[in-house]
Symmetry: C2
Subunit: 368 residues, 2 copies
């Protein structure tokens, strides 16, 4: 694996040099992890002109949640009196004859940026922008393998829940149980706070579980994901509680399912992100649900659960092969409930079989 | 409650005016919640010269995890195309004849700060600094009541765990079970990731649970906390698994207990924060454990689990009455394990009975 991280750093160094910066300071944790193999809490990565350096505020514990730093990388543990590692990194540039340093202005606070400027007043601070985020967008096969395992774990946790008794249990309990099952099946943890929504809450995006109990006749929508070696997937399904779904439930489910399928089928290398969104959105829009829809139909996943690309009406850019994304349209009818269906897929060439579905739990409308 | 939030905002407005700023933009979520009663995700608070305004990127859901915005406060829900609410707030100042706006430079990123500057180029952006954090340090009795309930919940969850069978179970499972019990007893959620550490891991501060199983003869250290209406408490205890603790375990436990008691007894209005730290630290130091100690012996708690004041050797400032803090010294012996004991207390005048202990689980060395 070590060569992978070295190659990622070399690519960033080359991009950075092309913009006239000899060095870069990476502070956003997921970016540090991507380039260094691990991101101990508070660590920052200084990308050379000389040797790259990972500056840590304390000794890395080897906790899988942080990953393990690449052994080829020089690692410095700062004394606890040293303060902000980013400032320590800027100080180092004084001895290293560096004239300009690119920093992540979308992550560094104004106060930290100012502190960098004051320890190294002759250093020109430039903006690295989203260079690392862009590099992270297309995944290699090792990364996709982690996502595939994360998806398997989420499928297993969800599958077991469906075999248990649901009526009478609260959203909160079901969410906690799902999180326990994720860990049981080998996740390093949940990829995000598990959402369980029943009855009038069902179908609400990002709903946080309440004490509402599952009742006969409810829609039940569940969204969960596993974090496996840092990689995050997402699955969402909606079920009906009881023997026979009502007509309006079947109708709404079929509509959201059609929208989600259209979104999935629009995934292809070279497809415009906004066209994928449009494929799903127009179906819901045509049925009169255009107004309450979420801003996005889906988004990239990887070391963060919500990364680029964004699948929305105003999204710029096209999809590439080996970009994992979610497709997750939903409709929520205030006072009645609703439906969300969410998969994680990897964009693939048609010759490679088209989009690869990672989350394989059935999307039939199950009555539980 | 509504007058409380209004009074907090008036105080901030006065402080802000004293530094020559007519308006302030509060973006740090805990600060928004403190001043507005609730902080829907992404919301920012614009403190007048005129009417105060809470700008939200989407309709508040009333989720208890976010709190409920003060009904006396004007609330604007921005359309999803509006982008960053902080930028929208800066734009508003153009029409409101505001010359300077104080922002939270320790929270706003360089990129957001720049975006504020470009929509309102004639607006002078000043630094609000830690004004709200300082205002949050001394709690009112309603806030302390929430902390007291949070502590009760954590005590209950921990007490139930002690009655269950522990040997053979993994750190991860015990941590998940504790979090479920917190929610069962009425917490809005855990205040932070529950730490369970057994055997050689015991006593490590902030240890993240692993698949290690509890064994006979182990030290078991547990640190957990409840979030109740936004307020976060913390309790940490160490136990021995099996019938009879070894001599080294009793010795180490007594030492950490003595240090923790010394820290607790040093809590008083007017006491220097570093003296509280010193009281606990010197006992561990004198026993030869000075080197591996954590940077802090304790810290404030409230709407965040880790807020000012800090109890450490370099801490400036004195304690006030009605400041809740943790006292949590610990010793970890690499390869053997260790002990941590952690309480949440409220600093009180001697006339009021001295420090009020919120977390009341016994600190005797229990053999489980």
């Amino acid at each position: 694996m070590s060569e992978v991280f070295g190659a990622r750093r070399s690519l960033l160094r080359a991009r950075c040099a092309a913009t006239g910066c000899a060095a870069a300071l990476v502070s956003r944790p997921a970016n540090v992890r991507y380039l260094a193999g691990g991101a101990p809490p508070g660590a920052v990565l200084l990308i050379g002109p000389g040797e790259d350096l990972l500056l840590c505020p304390s000794k890395p514990t080897g906790d899988p949640a942080d990953g393990r730093p690449d052994e080829q990388l020089r690692l410095t543990v700062l004394p606890s009196s040293a303060g902000d590692p980013a400032v320590a990194a800027a100080e180092l540039t004084r001895t290293a004859d560096v004239e300009s340093l690119a920093v992540e202005e979308h992550h560094l606070t104004v106060a930290r940026h100012r502190a960098l400027g004051s320890v190294a007043p002759r250093l020109r601070l430039a903006d690295l922008g989203l260079a690392v985020e862009q590099q992270r967008m297309v995944k290699d096969e090792d990364e996709i393998a982690c996502l595939r395992i994360a998806a398997e774990i989420a499928d297993q946790a969800l599958g077991e829940l469906l075999e248990s008794i649901l009526v009478g249990r609260t959203e909160r309990h079901l969410a906690l149980e799902l999180e326990r099952r994720l860990v049981d099946h080998g996740a390093d943890g949940p990829a995000f706070a598990t959402s369980v929504a029943t009855g009038i809450n069902a179908g609400r995006g990002g709903h946080r579980p309440t004490d509402r109990r599952v009742e006969e006749g409810d829609f039940l929508s569940v969204c969960l994901g596993a974090n496996y070696r840092g990689y995050c997937c997402e699955i969402g399904r909606t079920f009906v509680i009881g023997t026979t779904p009502a007509d309006w439930q079947i109708e709404l489910y079929d509509l959201v399912f059609a929208a989600q399928r259209a979104g999935r089928e629009a995934l292809a290398p070279g497809a415009e992100c906004r066209d994928v969104d449009h494929a799903a959105r127009q179906i819901l829009d045509a049925a009169g649900h255009g107004e309450g829809l979420a801003a996005l139909t889906g988004h990239g996943v990887g070391l963060e659960i919500d990364e680029d690309p964004q699948l929305g009406p105003a999204a710029m850019g096209k999809l590439d092969a080996c970009v994992p994304v979610t497709v997750e349209p939903g409709v929520h009818l205030p006072g009645r409930g609703g439906v969300r269906i969410d998969d994680t897929l990897v964009v693939r060439q048609v010759a490679d079989g088209g989009p690869e579905l990672l989350t394989i739990t059935t999307k039939e409308l199950l009555a539980l």
